[in-house]
């Protein structure tokens, strides 16, 4: 194709600008170049099509500029109340990955050890036949699907319908287990209803933002820029409470560091202070709260087939006060490394009835062997003070993926979930059976494999067929040193649907070429219960196909055609309208499709043409019907629960042999395992490889300099990375940090597969390692 000199120079200039914007974004939290987004848009007759961003759980609205059938520009959607026209560097560059030269455009089937390009229909025949024959030979629990918080709502829905309704196995789980399961378990145990009660408009009202183990400047940059705007405009304060100094800490008013795992103790100490100083909102607690305790010393799930069920027992407020006496600031300061003064400072903010406080958290609290407890403790603080379900006051669990809420949690692609409720509940199974038009006996009443156990079952040979969609578990799972060889075994037939080759597709028997985001229609649901629809914007290359349609085609080939009567052209609409039936009613009503097509996202419950921004508050939520000011209607008696949850140590702590904590996470330039963002040249160039961060004192003591090759070893595996000192982040002494986006430098070969026994979410933030120069 001819490119004029002017165009080439203009392209180079644009690359220079993008490099500078990316560099600025990595150095200055929340920085925004909104006008450049407008200026950088090519001239021409562009048609702008709306949708949500492909990447994180913030759910920014985007407008994609399409010309002659090609997507050539992206800008923030000014009509989206989420981002108000802003985008981060990932969002701005997102469509560039579709041009990658190694895009999967056709199905590939492994024959005699070599991948052979195969017509999509033939590949789907192979998948369906293999799934069917595996069930015939080994039973329905020998097949599994592993999907994603990046799957669209229709994709998650048909996967659930196929596995649970048609085949009749609960062998369906998703990668949201790795990021949001503790948040779900926290919501359900405290409120009996999943997902945050507030919304992003809280940012415009809060006096304080307290972030718990949450680097929002890099992970939720647009929300962080909104917080910074409030800080600059009206003096709102940001307090960063974390185990590592990050870009967020640097932009906050105050940074408080704690010893890994002791957030449990500090949260209890804050509650002690609230009670001890008379800051409890007594009327709120009397009217709306029950107190409970659960089992303690609950294990860490390190053994295969680990089982745990909590046994809740009601307690009194007096019992709870007695429990808190073990968590005085003076006692907790001794092992948390948080000073008494700082604990009292945090408690005083929450305890001040005249200050509005929003608490934000994400992976730090969820990827935790006591993640459910930690979520409960966060709610305890807000429930004791009555700072909840009001503009600017509330606990807000941020989600990581663009549809972890909409798909994984609301559709329910976890082993225990149904589109409404859980498989263990007879009424919920009956509703699903009615809408799906299957016998209720088809839906098993017991959950089977959560994510970690699913891949253990593959390794053991119990699962003989697995189909992964929109996810890259052989980079994102903990302890990949076990699960990669497990997936390579001949005992399991592996099908991988993806847009690009990944280490997971490297072990597949069949690779299915998936449509990318804007090459199909879909719906996502973000952190604030906002459902966002988009129409297909461009054609995908080759035989790329939407994941939902591939699932439907396999279902038809397996003989379930009657249950999947959707049309290829309109299956997204048809599926959404069927799915919507599950959530009828004021507590979770979804907006009609025609409204979603018109609006830049709509928050559920959508009742009488209006979104419910603050649930459980009678002033805003029409589902409240107890005649009181608040109604926690997820629980049978309408009351939320304050849980007595103690501090318990991590399963593995630094010792003489493995003297460092290892913490893992993300960087602003890359989306999770990097399969998309590493194919965007400007992002890849800005952050080409992973690294291991040291505190300068530790680096000095070990004689380590920036860029030197360091071997990081745990009891499970090792990897080698360049050292990073005083660059992106600053771990505390005795801690190292590595991002997990780099498939060539696999830190998850080192991490531990311990998980929260209630939520089954693994802890990627804490294990013990040793480090040595190589």
């Amino acid at each position: 194709m001819y490119t004029s000199l002017t165009n080439r120079r203009s392209f180079i200039k644009k690359m220079a600008v993008l490099s500078a914007m990316t560099a600025a974004a990595s150095m200055f939290p929340g920085i925004v170049f909104a006008s450049e987004q407008e200026n950088g848009i090519p001239d021409g007759d562009l048609e702008w099509k709306k949708g949500p961003c492909r990447f994180c759980g913030v759910g920014c609205g985007i407008l994609v500029g399409v010309e002659n059938g090609k997507a050539i520009a992206v800008k923030g959607d000014p009509n989206s109340s989420v981002n108000k026209g802003l985008l981060c560097v990932k969002g701005y560059h997102q469509i560039m990955c579709t041009q990658a030269s190694d895009r999967l455009t056709h199905a590939l089937v492994k024959k005699n050890g070599t991948y052979v390009k195969t017509p999509i229909n033939e590949a789907l025949d192979i998948v369906a036949n293999k799934m069917k024959s595996t069930i015939e030979q080994h039973g329905k629990d020998a097949v599994a699907m592993y999907t994603s918080g990046q799957s669209t709502i229709p994709e998650g829905y048909v996967a659930s319908k196929l596995m649970k309704g048609a085949i009749g196995t609960n062998n369906l789980d998703c990668n949201a287990r790795l990021c949001m399961a503790s948040a779900v378990a926290g919501f359900l145990t405290t409120f009996g209803a999943d997902e945050p009660m507030g919304c992003y408009d809280d940012i415009d009202h809060a006096d304080y933002f307290i972030t718990w183990g949450n680097n929002m400047a890099e992970m939720h940059p647009v929300l962080f820029s909104r917080m910074l705007e409030q800080k600059n405009r009206r003096g709102a304060k940001i307090i960063d409470f974390a185990t590592r100094t990050t870009r967020s800490s640097m932009a906050s008013d105050k940074s408080i560091l704690f010893e890994p795992q002791t957030d449990l103790a500090v949260a209890n100490a804050i509650c002690y202070e609230i009670v001890n100083n008379g800051w409890v909102n007594t009327k709120f607690v009397e009217d709306h709260i029950n107190f409970s305790k659960g089992l303690t010393d609950i294990g860490y799930g390190l053994e295969d087939k680990f089982k745990f069920s909590d046994k809740p027992t009601k307690i009194s407020f007096e019992d709870y006060k007695e429990f808190l006496k073990d968590y005085t600031p003076e006692k907790v300061a001794k092992y948390s490394r948080v000073s008494v003064k700082d604990i009292k400072y945090l408690a005083a903010i929450y305890g001040d009835p005249n200050k509005k406080v929003v608490s934000y958290w994400c992976m730090g609290m969820n990827q935790h062997t006591r993640g459910t407890w930690m979520n409960n403790l966060m709610y305890n603080i807000h429930l004791l003070t009555g700072k909840i379900s009001m503009p600017g006051n509330g606990p807000f669990s941020l989600t990581g993926q663009p549809s972890a809420c909409g798909t994984a949690r609301e559709v329910g692609t976890f082993t225990h979930k149904l589109p409404k409720g859980v498989v263990m509940n007879k009424k919920h199974r009956e509703l699903a059976a009615k809408i799906w038009k299957v016998p209720v006996e088809n839906i098993p009443s017991k959950p089977t494999y959560h994510t970690t156990e699913m891949f253990r079952a593959v390794d053991r040979g119990d699962i003989k067929f697995i189909w992964t969609q929109v996810t890259n578990p052989l980079v994102s799972l903990p302890k990949t040193s076990r699960y990669r060889p497990g997936m390579e075994k001949d005992s399991c037939f592996v099908v991988v649907s993806d847009v690009f080759p990944t280490p997971t597709s490297d072990v597949a028997d069949v690779i299915l070429p998936a449509s990318w985001h804007i090459e199909k229609s879909g719906l996502y649901g973000n952190s604030e219960r906002r459902t966002q629809h988009w129409d297909k914007m461009v054609e995908g290359p080759g035989e790329t196909t939407p994941d939902a349609w591939m699932t439907i085609e396999v279902a038809k080939r397996m003989g379930y055609g009657d249950l999947f009567p959707y049309s290829k052209e309109n299956h997204v609409e048809e599926i959404y309208n069927e799915y919507k039936e599950f959530h009828a009613g004021a507590k979770h009503e979804m907006a009609p499709l025609e409204v979603l097509k018109e609006e830049s996202g709509v928050i559920w419950p959508y009742v009488d043409g209006k979104s419910t921004q603050w649930r459980f508050n009678a002033k805003y939520d029409p589902a409240c019907d107890n005649g009181k000011d608040f109604h926690f209607y997820g629980k049978p008696d309408g009351k939320a629960v304050i849980w007595q949850r103690p501090f318990e140590p991590a399963p593995e702590t630094p010792d003489e042999e493995y003297p460092f904590w290892l913490n893992t996470g993300r960087v602003i330039e890359h989306w999770h395992t990097g399969s998309m963002t590493r194919r965007i040249p400007v992002l890849h160039k800005a952050m080409p490889n992973a690294y291991i961060e040291f505190h300068p004192d530790d680096a000095n003591a070990l004689g380590i300099r920036n860029g030197e090759r360091i071997k990081i070893t745990s009891r499970r595996g090792s990897c080698i990375m360049p050292a990073s000192i005083n660059e992106r982040g600053l771990p505390t002494r005795g801690q190292v940090f590595a991002p997990f986006f780099d498939e060539n430098l696999m830190i998850n070969d080192v991490t531990i597969d311990a998980f929260c026994p209630i939520s089954k979410e693994p802890d990627f933030k804490k294990c013990a390692v040793k480090v040595e120069k190589v």
């Binding site: 180079i12 220079a16 600008v17 500078a20 914007m21 929340g30 920085i31 705007e229």
Partner: protein, 79 residues
Amino acid sequence: MPIKSYLAHPKKGKRAELVNALSNLQECEVIPAENNDLLIVVTETSNKAQEDKLKETLETIDSLKMLSMVSGFNTSKND
């Protein structure tokens, strides 16, 4: 034909002055951040000599506190 991008930091309270000074240079394109005292500057010159001369000019701008280069491309005239 060098094309380079820089992050430019203004002296305190001199953001508008710096935007103005840079915008007046024919070889410079300026993109200010919406919510931060930081500017992106993209320079486009014909050759190394002109590039060096521009750099000297930039260094004399009073409102400029610091200039750090992010990327540089050097294309041939026919490129």
